[in-house]
């Protein structure tokens, strides 16, 4: 007891500072070790591999921009870029429109609301590969249930070749992607909608606003920050999508549905051209950065709307 005051006071401030940083560092260590080892290092290695001619089982040597020069002249690569942009663009717009619509519906007073909310999120919970298998069967060239139903109604004469025709295949994979993406958008936007006070809507309606005006001038501006974030995530994950395409078409027919991620896999792993595959993956990064910047500005607007608080 008596030694306590004599030992401590000297370095208490230094100790505090020291221990704060030391504890922080110690607590960060496991997560940081993992992320550096399996995230930062591979990211750097991926960029490096893009500049080499590495193959499976053989370390590459530095070849500069040769992979990129090769890809620049490769029509398949440009097809995949085009496909990725179209796939992301169309699917994101549809997911946003339908998701917002569903969120607005679920925001109404409904019986069994939580039950509906639980059902709606289901496609998102189930492994993509497994639900994509169900879509594969639904899109079967001969025994598609959609073709059969349409034939029963009498709209078409023969079964639709969903995945065999380039245009149909593109529409089909986008439809499957939208199906899987709607729940995420809808439930996230619903959470945003629930934070908008009803009194604002009531005030607007007392001022004589129509329901469209209430939506456009009250709901949408208040929802816009969360829309920005949700759509950034959605765009990011659609852009780098792999599973759905790999199950449904593997990039076919004639590369009509190859995305950059599936092309990167095909060239890199079964094709063995690690360098080239990595270069395709690296080529996705600028697009992803654009999406992240978009999210950043979305978040900034949110700060401003809340009155500049951090």
């Amino acid at each position: 007891m008596s030694s306590y005051p004599s030992q401590k006071p000297r370095s208490r401030v230094a100790d505090m500072f020291q221990s704060r940083n030391a504890t922080g560092l110690m607590f960060m260590l496991p997560a940081a070790a993992f992320l550096i080892c399996f995230l930062t290092y591979p990211l750097g290695l991926g960029v490096w591999l893009g500049f080499t001619d590495a193959k499976i089982g053989r370390d590459g040597i530095f070849i500069g921009l040769e992979n990129y020069r090769y890809l620049w002249d490769d029509p398949v690569f440009w097809t995949s870029v085009f496909n990725t942009v179209v796939y992301t663009g169309v699917a994101s717009v549809l997911k946003f429109a339908l998701g917002l619509w569903l969120a607005l519906i679920l925001n109404e007073h409904l019986p069994f609301k939580s039950f509906f909310r639980a059902i709606v999120l289901l496609p998102w919970v189930v492994p993509t590969v497994l639900s994509a298998l169900a879509f594969w069967w639904i899109f079967d060239a001969q025994f598609s249930i959609i073709s059969w139903s349409l034939m029963q109604i009498g709209w078409i004469d023969g079964p639709i070749n969903f995945l065999g025709d380039p245009t149909n295949a593109r529409i089909s994979v986008i439809a499957a992607n939208v199906w899987r993406g709607i729940p995420f958008v809808a439930i996230s936007l619903l959470a945003g909608l629930q934070t908008i006070p009803t009194s604002l809507q009531e005030a607007a309606s007392l001022d004589g606003a129509t329901s469209w005006q209430r939506f456009r001038l009250v709901t949408l501006p208040l929802l816009s920050p969360i829309i920005a974030v949700v759509m950034t995530f959605s765009v990011l994950f659609t852009f780098t999508d792999f599973q759905l395409i790999y199950v449904l078409t593997k990039g076919g027919p004639v590369n009509a549905t190859h995305l950059m991620a599936t092309l990167s896999f095909q060239r890199g792993i079964p094709g063995g051209q690690l360098g080239e595959g990595a270069a395709i993956a690296v080529a996705m990064i600028p697009f992803l950065l654009a999406a992240i910047l978009f999210s950043f500005f979305g978040l900034q607007r949110r700060k401003w709307q809340r009155g500049g608080q951090d």
Partner: protein, 298 residues
């Protein structure tokens, strides 16, 4: 017309206040009908999966004599085939093992990281938080090729360890981000009084913060479990041998062969592979929703 109804004395300042604008026939068209269509479209693939899994083969492709939407004399043959003549039970076990392993690992690492960033406030904790968020935005599809090289260098290629060690790359950022939000909501005063009582940081974390953050831990845990259960591209790239495959990879690479598709057993495989996460989900719907929206909100 709207003006006259606004004089309604029943109008109260509560959530139901504006329901006067929506009479039943209108609600039917603007709300219930679209909702029914949405629910039908979102649910139909699962129904189709389930009905195919129990359909005898001769009914599967004969739409003229049997209605495709229903099944006469359901069979368990596809499921029996799946469970006893394929490696399916092994894949199920692998997936479970990998998902539990990577979830536990990620949660443990994330609890410390989130606490350090949010409460220890060491020098550079804010940039660290930002880095965690950015790490969450790096998708697996740009990492799998270099990671394959690394996994090979570490000598864990084609083992379950490869997956247990690589899944945390997307689980740790997510869990940390989510737990940071939970820790932020725990009042400082509790920690301060513990500090005054002479508790160390370690004791505060274990005895004060963690018990209060149990809902957050559950949310992060089941969400991470689902993400690892559903993961595909790493498992496809890092695993070669049949006995180490996970459900999504196993079903796709081993049950799909040649041109004769065993749709019945394929759909049974898809159904049973989805069931564990769906059951988990049905018990923790609110945790799922809060972790999904939590990741988006902040």
């Amino acid at each position: 017309m709207a003006l006259t109804t606004q004089n309604d004395p029943a109008l109260k300042d509560d959530a139901e206040g504006m329901s006067y604008l929506n009479r039943l026939p209108r609600r039917l068209v603007t709300i219930y009908l679209p909702l029914a269509v949405f629910v039908f479209v979102l649910i139909f693939p699962f129904y189709w999966m389930a009905i195919t899994a129990v359909k005898p083969n001769h009914q599967l492709t004969n739409y003229d004599e049997y209605s495709p939407f229903w099944v006469v004399a359901p069979t368990l043959d596809h499921i029996k085939y799946l469970l006893f003549e394929t490696s399916y039970p092994g894949w199920l076990w692998n997936t479970m093992l990998v998902a539990v392993g990577s979830t536990v690992l990620s949660l443990a690492a994330s609890v410390f990281a989130a606490y350090a960033i949010e409460r220890v406030r060491f020098t550079g904790s804010r940039p660290a938080g930002l880095m965690i968020f950015l790490a969450y935005l790096i998708p697996p599809s740009i990492l799998f090729i270099p990671l394959a090289v690394i996994v090979f260098q570490f000598g864990i290629y084609d083992t379950k360890l490869a997956l247990i060690f690589t899944y945390p790359t997307f689980l740790i950022p997510f869990c940390t981000w989510l737990l940071m939000g939970y820790f932020r909501s725990i009042p400082f005063e509790l920690e301060e009084s513990a500090l005054v009582d002479g508790a160390s940081r370690w004791q505060i974390l274990i005895k004060v913060i963690l018990p209060l953050a149990v809902p957050g831990l559950i949310s992060a845990g089941i969400f991470a479990f689902t993400l690892s259960w559903n993961e595909f591209i790493y498992a496809l790239t890092f695993i070669q041998s049949s006995e180490n495959k996970t459900i999504p990879v196993g079903v796709l690479t081993e049950l799909v062969r040649g041109d004769v598709f065993e749709w019945g057993s394929l759909m049974a495989g898809a159904l049973f592979g989805s069931l564990p996460v769906v059951i988990l989900y049905s018990f923790f719907v609110d945790s799922y929703v809060s972790s999904m929206t939590g990741a988006v909100k902040e």
